[in-house]
């Protein structure tokens, strides 16, 4: 792969996505060994710089780096750099002065990783920027879909929930569109806006309509802790209209895949029976996350061709 950074899937080509997914597939085997480590990135330094809380993504990147023998350092800024008094650029200058090879950043502001990528020589992976993109999540989602459905060309993926304010949805939308899939969006009027429609992307509002056509239904998390004013009346109403339970799932194909980026609000967007049910591939998504992140570290840092030796 030729690129220095992975900031989003908006500008990533089909060939690049296929290369990442192919490499990730090969790396999966490493995590199944008793000694889960290869020397591929020995001596390379990877910094995770997180301005927002994360459990899953942080652990996933950490394990990916460790399994490739890279040296990892985690910086958890907790709150924004502005509130601490140091600007993001200054934090980055200091990190840069210690010669990292790659920085993985999560930040509440869209465009923050782009600023780092533009100004520094180290590679940048966007681990979520505001409501903009979360490309590694979409890649692990696509790997999971591909495992079950094969080529994604012509497949129908329904994304349900707060699509407009979701970086997971945005990255999936760009990636799936590039892969030739058809995307159906559904959610309340405040969260699913007509301007997101485009070639290969349709906006519906009723979950029933999208379930009937879907090969995959991706349920988004309702971020109750940071909903702007007057976005939803109540969680109860949301669960009733947009939550996926067994009754609604019965309208879908019996081969439909149920996905969720986590963490789940049980009883809001997913009922426990569905979350843990036989159509759910949520834990496979998590497993694939490590492989996808290993692949990206490997590809961006230009590891040897003998990837999983």
């Amino acid at each position: 792969m030729k690129r220095k950074d992975l900031l989003g899937l908006r500008d990533v080509s089909r060939d690049e996505i296929l290369e990442i997914l192919e490499t990730a597939s090969r790396f999966r085997e490493v995590s199944k060994r008793r000694i889960k480590k290869v020397p591929t990135l020995r001596g390379r330094t990877v910094v995770t710089l997180f301005f927002e809380n994360s459990t899953r993504t942080k652990v996933s990147f950490d394990l990916a780096a460790k399994r490739l023998s890279a040296d990892g350092v985690h910086i958890s800024a907790g709150t924004s750099a502005v509130k601490k008094g140091e600007t993001l650029m200054d934090t980055a200058r200091n990190i840069d002065a210690m010669a990292p090879d790659l920085v993985i950043m999560r930040h509440s502001c869209a465009g923050a990783p782009h600023m780092l990528a533009r100004n520094f020589d180290f590679s940048v992976i966007n681990a979520g920027d505001g409501i903009n993109e979360h490309p590694t999540q979409a890649l692990l989602d696509m790997l999971t879909m591909q495992d079950h459905l094969g080529d994604l060309e012509g497949k129908t993926v329904a994304i349900v929930g707060d699509v407009y304010h979701s970086r997971v949805a945005r990255s999936n939308l760009y990636g799936l569109r590039t892969m030739g899939a058809r995307v159906l969006l559904a959610g309340p009027g405040t969260m699913c806006r007509p301007e997101m429609a485009g070639p290969g992307v349709e906006v519906r509002h009723k979950i029933d309509e999208v379930l009937e056509e879907a090969d995959v239904v991706m349920m988004l998390r309702i971020q109750r802790e940071r909903l702007p004013r007057a976005m939803l009346p109540t969680s109860r109403e949301y669960a009733h209209l947009y939550g996926l339970d067994s009754a609604k799932l019965a309208r879908a194909s019996d081969r439909v895949l149920v996905m969720h980026p986590g963490p789940i609000n049980r009883g809001v967007e997913l009922s426990p029976e569905v979350a843990d049910g036989e159509r759910s591939v949520i834990m496979e998504q998590v497993t694939n996350g490590v492989a996808v992140r290993m692949a990206l570290l490997f590809l961006l840092l230009g590891g040897s061709d003998d990837a999983s030796a």
């Binding site: 924004s80 502005v82 650029m89 930040h107 502001c109 782009h114 409501i131 903009n132 970086r167 301007e195």
Partner: protein, 417 residues
């Protein structure tokens, strides 16, 4: 010194003059025939346009209070290089220009420190807070040219109604931005396809359209002339047009950058914070409507919206960066790069001059405030070469049209010095 501007195209959008010929500058006045008994210094204007100098309605000069960004001196120099010989200073200083003594101070210091004329827009409300009226009467006596609430909205309609009623007998226009505080909160760019694509929270065009409807209604009701700054959407233009047709005492201007750029610039630049403006850059459809409004006269003018900001304000995440960009040194070239010459000159000279009640024309005897301009010549924007103390422009590296061969203020050729 008497000057002879020889062989240029004399173009005056105030009087409709457009012909080839000579023009003289004598004793600070325009002369259409050679003054007798004096030797004139000849400026060769062959292939160039001789036209009245520009007037800006809204520039933040940041002085007093934010002089690391700009000062009356550097702002005046920037204005001169951009072809403006009269600039209205925005009241967003520290302290806010909301007291007669501050108005007097800025006027007095500008006379000493700035090469061009600086007029003062006095704050309509105390501290620009939108709650208490400033001493509008005393500030008018102190020499304020008009009133403005800068970028800050007066959200309380009762306060705004009373401010306009109070200002009416003072005879000065009130400049306001049209917006809606709640719809603008937490948002950082224009809302629409571009913000959905960029993953940034958007300010809908409806915020401005609600705001302008309110301003037109209150202008009509109070009878006070309201000038709407930064009109930026197609529907707001339609509302302004309807307001003008109904006889409401209203006028509007947009900004030079809104005429040249659209909201695709945010993503195309990789979230460059210099593309963060207030109002935000709008859609291409909106931009074309602004150009049409310049053509048909719905918009009275274009302001520089000069907003000097340093790396401290701009080298931040997009959402944390302060909105605004420099304008004085690029406004004319912005317009010449996207609009016909006559529209550009009317919008930057005749229109604003009319609002301020000053003369910018090539009439015999008019004040000698003139430009010699090569409208076709190209230059490349290099912020390191600006006279401004700041460098925040989304135009860096861009090639624009329009190079000034001379700027004449009070009968003297000040640029090039």
């Amino acid at each position: 010194m008497t000057l002879q501007l020889k062989g240029g195209r004399l173009l005056c959008t105030a009087t409709g003059v457009d012909r080839m010929g000579d023009l003289w500058v004598h004793q600070g006045r325009v002369r259409l025939s050679a003054p007798e008994g004096v030797q004139a210094q000849v400026i060769d204007c062959t292939g160039k346009v001789v036209t009245p100098a520009l007037v800006d309605l809204d520039a933040r000069l940041c002085d007093p209070g934010y002089t690391w960004r700009e000062s009356l001196s550097t702002g005046g120099e920037a204005a001169l290089r951009g072809g403006f010989t009269c600039v209205v200073a925005n009241p967003e200083t520290d302290p806010v220009t909301d007291d007669p003594s501050f108005v007097r101070e800025v006027i007095a210091r500008a006379g000493l420190e700035s090469k061009v004329e600086i007029k003062v827009a006095a704050a309509l409300t105390k501290g620009l807070g939108g709650e208490k009226l400033s001493e509008l009467g005393l500030m008018a006596e102190a020499g304020a040219a008009l009133f403005s609430n800068a970028d800050h909205l007066v959200s309380d309609s009762l306060v705004l109604r009373n401010a306009l009623l109070y200002a009416r007998p003072l005879g000065l226009p009130v400049m306001l931005r049209a917006g809606d505080a709640e719809l603008e909160s937490v948002a950082v760019m224009n809302e629409g396809a571009s913000s959905a694509l960029a993953g940034l929270r958007g300010i809908p065009a409806a915020a401005e359209e609600i705001g302008i409807a309110r301003l037109i209604a209150l202008a009509r009701y109070t009878g006070t002339h309201v000038h709407v700054l930064g009109v930026s959407t197609k529907l707001a233009i339609a509302q302004l047009k309807a307001g003008l047709a109904s006889g409401a005492p209203i006028s509007g201007s947009t900004t030079a950058l809104h005429c040249l750029l659209n909201d695709g610039e945010v993503l195309a630049s990789g979230y460059d914070t210099d593309t963060r403006l207030m109002p935000p850059l709008r859609t291409e459809e909106d931009r074309l409507a602004l150009l049409e409004a310049l053509a048909d006269g719905t918009l009275l003018g274009v302001s520089s919206a000069h907003a000097p900001l340093t790396r401290v304000d701009k080298e931040l995440e997009f959402a944390y960066a302060t909105p605004g960009a420099l304008g004085l040194e690029t406004a004319l070239s912005c317009l010449l790069s996207c609009a016909p010459l006559e529209h550009a000159l009317r919008a930057l000279s005749a229109g604003p001059a009319k609002l301020l009640g000053i003369e910018r024309s090539l009439r015999d005897g008019a004040p000698a405030e003139l430009l010699v301009l090569d409208p076709e010549a190209k230059w490349t924007v290099d912020p390191t070469q600006f006279a401004s103390r700041s460098a925040n422009t989304p135009l860096a590296g861009r090639q624009l049209s329009g190079v000034l061969a001379a700027v004449i203020h009070k009968g003297e050729c000040l640029h090039p010095a």
